[in-house]
Amino acid sequence: MTSGKKTKATRNSVAAARSSVVASKPKPWGTILAVIAVLALAGGVFGYAYMQIHENNVKEAALAKWKPSDTNKDPSTALAGIVTKEYKGSRHVEPTQRVAYDQTPAFGGPHDAQWADCTGVVYDKAVRTENMVHGLEHGAVWIAYNPDQVKDDALTKLKAKVEGIPYMMLSPYPGLDKPISLQSWGHQLKIENADDERVDQFISSLLRNPNTYPEVGASCENTAFLSNPAPFVAEKPGADAVPMDGGKDDSVTEGQPQNPSTPPASGSASTPPSS
């Protein structure tokens, strides 16, 4: 350590001896190492626990992001491309009447008294919109697809999200401007393909979300409709169609038997969702 001079070897050795004695007290290496070891262990355990919990929180947060709750009543508003509109639970129309919907496909507004059965139903043929909208009012999610663009694998994927799953319905929608359009009451999201993660996110956010549909607790069952679904009407609604606000005066819109030859007639002829 120290390069002592031989002339003062004795003094040095004494000093060295003293210093070593003095130094041995303030430098308890064993204790220091033990403390460092404990510190490292504690840091490790804390770090591990923190990471585990953090990871868990991140996972939960990712899930919770699309789960309606007291503090996040409508998670769908965070979905890119979502379109929302405020619709009240609205009046019913006759099987022969059309509604002048403001959206395509419609996702709210006046609708037929018969709701389209939404007990996890895959409709092979396009269904009358006035009935589908009533299904939405009961908390269902309706997946509409353009039958010219969505087939085979893509269609199989959509079916798997619907068949047998309560409050889900799937139907072709001729002339749809995007391959797939998701509807729930007051909400719509149009997407390009069935693999889009937003399909599940939309469903998670809105399926029977008690904050977003008017008739909480309503049933999706309608056996009569399921046995004989009202067919889609391609023609645009005529001037006598029920407006979105349901008509100022019900008696005016109801009392229109004098012109049954306008477009609704073609729909009404093949639209008997009886009983």
Partner: protein, 231 residues
């Protein structure tokens, strides 16, 4: 090797080192305490009044049994529409009204717990995986297969709705409903003991008992009509 430097003022250096040692020891204790705090839940925090976590038996049971029940209600309602046999219509009413009421309870709890009112994960009965449940547990449905044990397929429901009426309908309905009851029983059985909430344990235990009685009744009804349960 900076060791020699500390010994320049003899007697004092121990103060610095001691402060360091004590500081480090305190830090270590705090870190350990924090880690233990993160890892350990106080007994009170899992009391039966706290909302059960996502993925718990309580949430899973309420979600999956609601879905299972809804199909039972659906089938019972078809019998109310189609059967002309007072015995069948009475049983169908009992099943649909009871199960709808139970679904309402379960969905009410799920709403209080801020959970989805139905399972949207596409994997059912995962909550039964925890303990050694004999042969049951998570099911991932395939196309054309039922979502959960005992449930009818779309084709079977279509036949129930549109097939022949009369005695043939009654028998087929009894067969499907019997299978439905039997298939749902393991869920109720599991939740009756494994659920954390006493209200869930009570309800599932109750389902188990009342449905066992109905199961026996339906077997009798089938025998009376000269038919057997589905294989």
């Amino acid at each position: 090797m900076s060791v020699p430097e500390t010994d320049e003022v003899s007697g004092r250096p121990s103060g610095v080192v001691r402060a360091l040692v004590i500081g480090a020891a305190v830090l270590a204790v705090l870190l350990l305490g924090a880690a233990v705090g993160l890892l350990v839940k106080l007994p009170g925090s899992t009391s039966s009044t706290a909302a059960p976590a996502s993925g718990s038996v309580d949430v899973g049971f309420c979600q999956d049994m609601s879905m299972h029940h809804l199909q039972g209600i659906q089938m019972a309602n078809i019998a109310r529409d189609r059967s002309t046999d007072p015995e069948i219509r009475q049983l169908a009413f009992d099943i649909s009204s009871t199960q709808l009421e139970q679904v309402g309870r379960m969905k009410g709890w799920l709403m209080m717990w801020n959970e989805h009112e139905q399972n949207i994960s596409g994997v059912y009965m995962k909550w039964m995986d925890a303990a050694g449940v004999h042969g049951h547990g998570a099911t991932t449905p395939e196309a054309g297969k039922p979502l959960m044990p005992g449930m009818a397929t779309t084709d079977e429901l279509t036949r129930l709705r549109t097939g022949p009426a009369g005695r043939e309908f009654d028998v087929y309905w009894l067969q499907l409903m019997l299978r439905h009851h039997v298939g749902g029983a393991p869920m109720a059985e599991y939740a009756a003991t494994a659920a954390g909430q006493s209200v869930v344990r009570t309800l599932s235990d109750n389902m188990l008992k009342s449905q066992s009685a109905e199961t026996e009744l339906m077997k009798d009804y089938l025998a009376k009509r000269g038919a057997a349960p589905l294989p």
